[in-house]
Symmetry: C2
Amino acid sequence: MNVTNNHITYQNPVIDPLNKGLGAFQQPLAAVDVKALNWNLLNEDLSLPTAVLYEECMTHNLNWMQQFVAEYGVKLAPHGKTTMAPKLFARQLAGGAWGITLATAHQTRVAYQHGVRRIIMANQLIGKQNMAIISDLVADPAFEFCCLVDSAAGVEQLGAFFQARKQKLNVLLELGPDGGRTGVRNSAQQTEVLNAIERWKDQIVLAGVELYEGVLKEEADIRQFLQHAVACTKQLAEAGRFTERAARQPVILTGAGSAWYDVVADEFSKADIGLPLDVVLRPGCYLTHDVGIYRAAQAQIQTRNPVARKMRTELQPALQLWAYVQSIPEPGKAIVALGKRDAAFDAGMPLPVSHYRPGNAAPTATPAHWQVTGMMDQHAYLQIAAGDDIQVGDMLAFDISHPCLTFDKWRQIAVVNPQHQVVDVIQTFF
Amino acid sequence: MNVTNNHITYQNPVIDPLNKGLGAFQQPLAAVDVKALNWNLLNEDLSLPTAVLYEECMTHNLNWMQQFVAEYGVKLAPHGKTTMAPKLFARQLAGGAWGITLATAHQTRVAYQHGVRRIIMANQLIGKQNMAIISDLVADPAFEFCCLVDSAAGVEQLGAFFQARKQKLNVLLELGPDGGRTGVRNSAQQTEVLNAIERWKDQIVLAGVELYEGVLKEEADIRQFLQHAVACTKQLAEAGRFTERAARQPVILTGAGSAWYDVVADEFSKADIGLPLDVVLRPGCYLTHDVGIYRAAQAQIQTRNPVARKMRTELQPALQLWAYVQSIPEPGKAIVALGKRDAAFDAGMPLPVSHYRPGNAAPTATPAHWQVTGMMDQHAYLQIAAGDDIQVGDMLAFDISHPCLTFDKWRQIAVVNPQHQVVDVIQTFF
């Protein structure tokens, strides 16, 4: 742990034996040394249940998304709340991402401390300590940051805080659809926010426009909302809102979760507001993908989007959970040592895909009728059929739905190659 | 961090500025120094959202449960998977708990490393690394440990592993009801397990009988199952199963989650197996309680159980989430900066209870019509009424349902007194 510029930098993260899902070791270990341990998942070198990331699939997904945004000439600021793994942020940035998106002041601090220097906080910045955290970070002139505003009250609070600190803060005007989440709903609300920004013109700088289209469910509604955002950005540009003071250039226009980023790319890449424009997409789940809600969403994208179709490859699920069969107490039921404390369950149960008996040559595909019917804190109920070849001590691999809520169950996650050799360990900071 | 006996001891845990929900500080800080920081929740000294534990409520709950088990003359091994907070384990033990219950080898290691020396792992011990973790710990003769067995296959695997290590392992026979989770269902399965224990008699030592009654829903079924367990334990005692080798004495008979511990106490405290018997209850959620599933369960206990009725006090909710109102985009809707990454949502949404405007004298109760209608990763939808006195920047306190899945969202949790002054910070190890 090194201290620079009054901020801690965690350049040499340690692997901690008190974190679950790792192998046998007694003392904290530098993550760079992990390859030397020669851990292999199939050799039972990890303590199950465990979550593993597949190196090759992640690299494929990284490249896929970077190629996709490049085709549209737009920029990528992957949502970091999904993984909260600075090592993965670093790979996204090295792969060409323009910045990282985050949701809270805490998350922003974690990313900054690990070297990220351009962050969209796609959320309102509320509260004294949260503002203090951001104030400390934007004191670094090399750090580019903006957050959202959607109310005059919010702008007033930011203005007063940052005036006292003699600092400027870049903000994006958030637009929201009726019935949606945050964001101004109409021009009256928008004017109130803009007037508040005008009152705090020495502190609060309008840098662009933001939305999250994922609260809408239909493509037509989403396209209409996106077109509204483009028109709004153009009006603000024409009204001199982005040029009258030392606002960041180019103007930022940003949207896109993991389900509709293609439609956002399509609409926003056509925008002409008469000023240089950075269109920024913010999907987060593409890196690990899944076999649930995001596989379904991606299948839609592969169908409707010409650029995705042309690429001829798809995102690959890169995050799996492995666990042991611990009991087969009834002919049609196995109990697996994997629970709600280990896996997301809000968007579908983990899906068994591979079955491995320690000592065997390789895992085999699980029968289609094996499925998780329920989970408790530490147990999963696996429906099997009487007579199936399954034993206590067998290992099962599960694909997942909703990577976000799986990541936050794990403080350290092994990265494996196709031979299931552990090649890296990433840390998460939730 | 000190190293003793080849195991790390975390005697001086640090508070890490990269963990969420804490106050402003730049460098890791010894947890013992936290009082000196003089953080007060109502002074906005913490970065919200945050989880807080109420010191006085926890102490009340600790005493309540200890008094309850004392009235029955039974022992308490609180389930530690709920909090995974060694500081709370230490308080439970100091308050009179006989031991700590855990669910995995990893959890057992965490507790051991923090000084816990008697653990029931109320689960099967499966897999090479998990057995290796336990093997390292039971090498300490001061450490008392037992885990569950419910299959011959499981016993065989344990026997082979611990024979190679020349160690003994105490196990409890797990009984399970038809349609339930783990545990032997009938005497044929039971005999298979006992025969396997006999084959590995130099390694695997039968120390008692275990069940988890919480998979059943009706009191009559639960009482029948408990009576079956008592009869089974008595038969095993009469057959000399607990005395023929150097088994632990007294015999252990253990059950009870957080919803039916009174019924288990009632049935098991009457057991006479002709040998000294330690009846051990394992509730976990009593320490923080909640206002959802466990409030409902506890209300049943207060109604049906004479000892609980006689105590005239009830468990108190001791864990709250605090968050800011970040947006009021429509007249009937506020958006709160609190999401699925911060709170359990599997057993009911967080329930708003207090409303505090920074600068005011004290929080007020929230109107009954304010309720959370949904949560996303970082946002909660709060239903309000047009014209309600609520503003962006207001703080809201939420009681929770299902403490387990709330604890595992937080790595460090502030403990506050009734004045909302932070008096301690506990660490969790999930």
